[in-house]
């Protein structure tokens, strides 16, 4: 019989909120934290007495202590030089994320009454290699062995796919969270979750909707009162919070009010925003998500009618205009009975169950072991190689199922060239310098010959963990260089 409970956590490390789940009796269960909540705000801070605060406590003090609080740190993950000044120290983004993970781990241990040391952590599907690496690093810093970093929309699909009656379906997951947007299209058949296409924007989420309201309030206030509040840290923080509340209110009301007394000296910011106004302000953001959705359908070679179910994930899909636009575009009502805040963590727990070959309850309520399920995910970004004239030679196209491998043959571009070198690139740009460079391959000792004669084969290999291995080989001599992607020093702190 199955183990009653798994030993591996599934963690959704979100921009705004984080959530943890674990497999219990074959099903993913969300863990309730020490404050009795199922989600914790992804906020870290230090109290005026220098105590570390994570979650609700940190969120509560943002306004009174903005200099010593950080939120939406996920937006900076993988940026090697970004540091957060906090409590007279400078933290890396993954260092901050590690504090959130530590809290999640401690809460889980309290709930389970047992130590846990392993986790599957989710990331936006559109995260690049260094953002994924930073996430893994954060887990390690929090004392977690990160078995796998998986894509958020894929995780949502895993959790959905275990439901009764889900067989031979094509689904589209639309995930609009606090900071990021992803779309993934999957086929679920024979227990295989095959990602057909994925697309997204790592800088598009609820925060941007809030910002539209903030901009509006700031300009209205300036016009009415002649005071520019955009440099006033405390006022700005209050406006931001009020803007988010106003946005959330408008998901159920047709007008919402922002009332902030004493925002600046004796002035009061008191304004009303209608849902119509809000929809007009944010139309471009919604349009952007729709065109990304269109692109992913095109990549999958499907049209909206081919999709059996549309799944909405992320708090921002509660915005009526968002849900409506998705519904109109897809010609289908999205599934309503899925908790958009928890499904990602639940899916991460399912992947943990698959990796650990644990018993999982799947459709028809029968107990199956994880061996009857497998997730075939894809690379969300094209891998290429830098060539002459700042051009990219694409080697592994986006949406290729991993593990995978592909090679291309290159040559020299002047006579008697002895050394060839090029960067390993991630991204869709034809111009090499616009893509993210992951490392450089250098192959030397090429025997002298006319340009265009040597044949240098460059091979990229991606394993199930998404780890890239690159090799360059001179086909004439067999000389070879292999490069494992190393990370910028800034990510190793």
């Amino acid at each position: 019989m199955a183990q009653v409970r798994s030993k591996v956590l599934g963690i959704d490390l979100g921009t705004t909120n984080s959530c943890t789940a674990i497999i219990e009796l074959g099903e993913p269960k969300v863990i309730t934290n020490s404050e009795g909540k199922r989600l914790i705000p992804s906020v870290v801070g230090f109290s005026k007495k220098n105590e570390l605060l994570v979650g609700d406590l940190a969120k509560r003090q943002i306004i009174s202590n903005p200099e010593n609080s950080v939120q939406s740190i996920k937006r900076y993950m993988g940026k090697p030089d970004y540091r957060v000044p906090l409590n007279k120290e400078h933290y890396t983004p993954h260092g901050i994320s590690a504090m959130i993970l530590q809290k999640l781990k401690a809460d889980a241990e309290k709930y389970l009454g047992d130590a846990v040391g392993k986790a599957v952590i989710t990331v936006p599907a559109y995260f690049n290699d260094s953002q994924r690496f930073a996430t893994k690093k954060a887990g390690e810093m929090a004392g977690l062995d990160v078995l796998r970093v998986i894509n958020e929309p894929t995780a949502a699909a895993l959790a959905y796919g275990l439901r009764d009656g889900v067989e031979d379906q094509k689904i589209l997951v639309y995930d609009l969270g606090g900071g990021t947007f992803d779309v993934s299209i999957l086929k679920i058949k024979h227990g295989v979750f095959e990602v057909l296409a994925t697309c997204g924007d790592t800088e598009l989420g609820g925060d941007d909707f809030d910002q539209k309201i903030v901009d509006y309030l700031l300009s209205e206030f300036k016009e009415a009162e002649g005071t520019d509040l955009s440099e006033n840290v405390e006022a700005l923080q209050r406006i931001k919070e009020a803007a988010e509340r106003c946005k959330i209110d408008m998901s159920s009301l047709t007008t919402a009010n922002v009332d902030l007394p004493y925002i600046s000296e004796n002035k009061r910011l008191d304004m009303e925003i209608s849902r119509e106004q809000f929809e007009a302000m944010t139309e471009d953001l919604v349009n952007k998500t729709i065109s990304i959705m269109e692109k992913s359908l095109k990549d999958a070679g499907l049209s909206p009618q081919d999709i059996d179910e549309v799944i909405l994930v992320g708090g921002s899909t509660r915005i009526p205009a968002v849900a409506k636009r998705v519904e109109d575009f897809m010609g289908k009502t999205p599934l309503r009975n899925i908790n958009p805040d928890e499904v990602v963590a639940m899916g991460a727990a399912v992947q943990a169950g698959i990796l650990g070959n644990e018993y999982l309850k799947s459709s028809g309520n029968q107990q199956v072991d994880g061996g009857n399920l497998v997730l075939l995910d894809v690379t969300s970004l094209t891998l290429g190689f830098e060539t002459v004239g700042d051009t990219t030679a694409f080697i592994i196209p986006r949406n290729t199922t991993i593990p995978t491998r592909n090679s291309k043959v290159f040559t020299t571009h002047y006579d008697n060239q002895e050394v060839v070198r090029g960067k390993i690139l991630q991204g869709e740009e034809q111009e090499a310098s616009k893509n993210v460079a992951l490392g450089t391959i250098i192959l030397e000792n090429i025997p002298p010959s006319l340009k265009g004669v040597p044949r240098i084969e460059v091979t990229f290999d991606i394993d199930a963990n998404g780890i890239i291995n690159a090799t360059a080989r001179d086909l004439a001599t067999g000389n070879m260089r292999s490069v494992t992607i190393e990370r910028p020093a800034g990510l190793n702190d």
């Binding site: 090697p80 058949k189 024979h190 227990g191 295989v192 061996g371 399920l373 497998v374 075939l376 830098e386 060539t387 002459v388 004239g389 051009t391 030679a393 196209p397 199922t401 995978t404 491998r405 592909n406 090679s407 291309k408 043959v409 290159f410 040559t411 020299t412 571009h413 060239q417 050394v419 060839v420 070198r421 090029g422 960067k423 090499a432 310098s433 490392g439 450089t440 250098i442 030397e444 000792n445 340009k451 265009g452 044949r455 240098i456 084969e457 199930a464 090799t471 080989r473 001599t477 067999g478 000389n479 260089r481 292999s482 490069v483 494992t484 190393e486 990370r487 910028p488 020093a489 800034g490």
Partner: protein, 301 residues
């Protein structure tokens, strides 16, 4: 289309075609449903998430390659056209290169040797224990037809021990010798000494600034792990190299490339040109593809 061309050329050059039907254990008349079902079964068995075997990675890549060809009607058509008649394929399947056995075959790596046999490009690179590249030798035979020049320069390769340092973090693993090449010092080197060369294909010579720009970009990447490996076949003595180009060898090569060329023409007649054009990334047009293939064949024959 380059994918399939590559596959074809690879198998033909190797003198043994990988029979995807054999690999998936399905008859050649299998319908798309059967092919998919079989792929799903094998994926659940061999995907590295499911199989703890060290060669799961290789096995899955093979299965996936087979499936991706057979599920795509135009690719399948081309593949089927190039596939040897069934009885020959049965013969091929009895060879150890069939996926069930390839990964543990020692001869897969026969061409490789410890890099101590290879001429060291720089005295500061000391040879270390060699590790064969994972995967069948066949995988490294793939010859794409995209033919793009490297961005390179004579001067930028750093010499002198200062540029290299041993990655102490990794040397604990005996099976893999890795050396850390300091990218920062390399970049400095670039800026001072880099000479740029005009490329034939891109017309005007690009200047240093572009390279410097990207150099700065990569300055963040402080360390790049580099593993150096050599191969004995053609390097260990010059005589061996010359004998490698004996008449018989050249003839055999010529024959292979003729076969390759024929296959490509076959492909282009079967598949509509726009499909070829669209997929041949790195190359503009079909005609260019031809140029390159001819060039490639010429350079070897």
């Amino acid at each position: 289309m380059t994918d399939i061309l590559k596959q074809k050329m690879r198998s033909l050059k190797g003198g043994k075609a990988v029979d995807y039907y054999q690999l998936l254990d399905i008859p050649r008349v299998a319908n798309p449903e059967d092919i998919e079902y079989r792929y799903h079964e094998l994926a659940k068995k061999y995907h590295p998430d499911r199989s703890k075997s060290p060669d799961a990675h290789e096995k899955f890549i093979k299965i996936k390659e087979a499936y991706e060809t057979l599920k795509n009607p135009p690719k399948k058509k081309v593949y089927d056209a190039c596939l040897p008649p069934e009885e020959k394929a049965v013969e091929a399947s009895s060879e150890p290169e069939d996926f069930e056995g390839f990964s543990s075959e020692p001869e897969d790596f026969e061409g490789f040797s410890s890099d101590s046999d290879a001429p060291s490009p720089d005295s500061s690179i000391s040879p270390g224990p060699d590790q064969p590249v994972s995967g069948p030798k066949g995988a490294f035979k793939s010859t794409g037809i995209s033919y793009v020049s490297f961005k390179s320069d004579r001067e930028s390769y750093p010499s002198g021990p200062a540029s290299f340092s041993k990655d102490t973090g990794e040397t604990g693993k005996p099976e893999r010798s890795k050396y850390v090449l300091s990218e920062k010092s390399l970049n400095r080197h670039d800026r001072s000494k880099e000479v740029s060369y005009g490329s034939g294909q891109n017309g005007s010579g690009q200047n240093c600034s572009g390279q410097n720009g990207s150099g700065q970009n990569s300055a963040d990447w402080s360390y790049v792990k580099v593993k150096y490996e050599g191969i004995d076949e053609d390097i260990d003595d010059d005589a061996g190299k010359k004998s490698g180009f004996s008449a018989g060898f050249a003839l055999r090569k010529a024959f292979r490339y003729t076969v390759v060329l024929i296959c490509i023409f076959l492909v282009l007649t079967i598949v509509s040109p726009d499909l070829v054009g669209a997929k041949a990334s790195g190359l503009g047009a079909v005609t260019e593809t031809f140029d390159k293939v001819v060039l490639l064949a010429k350079s070897l024959v």
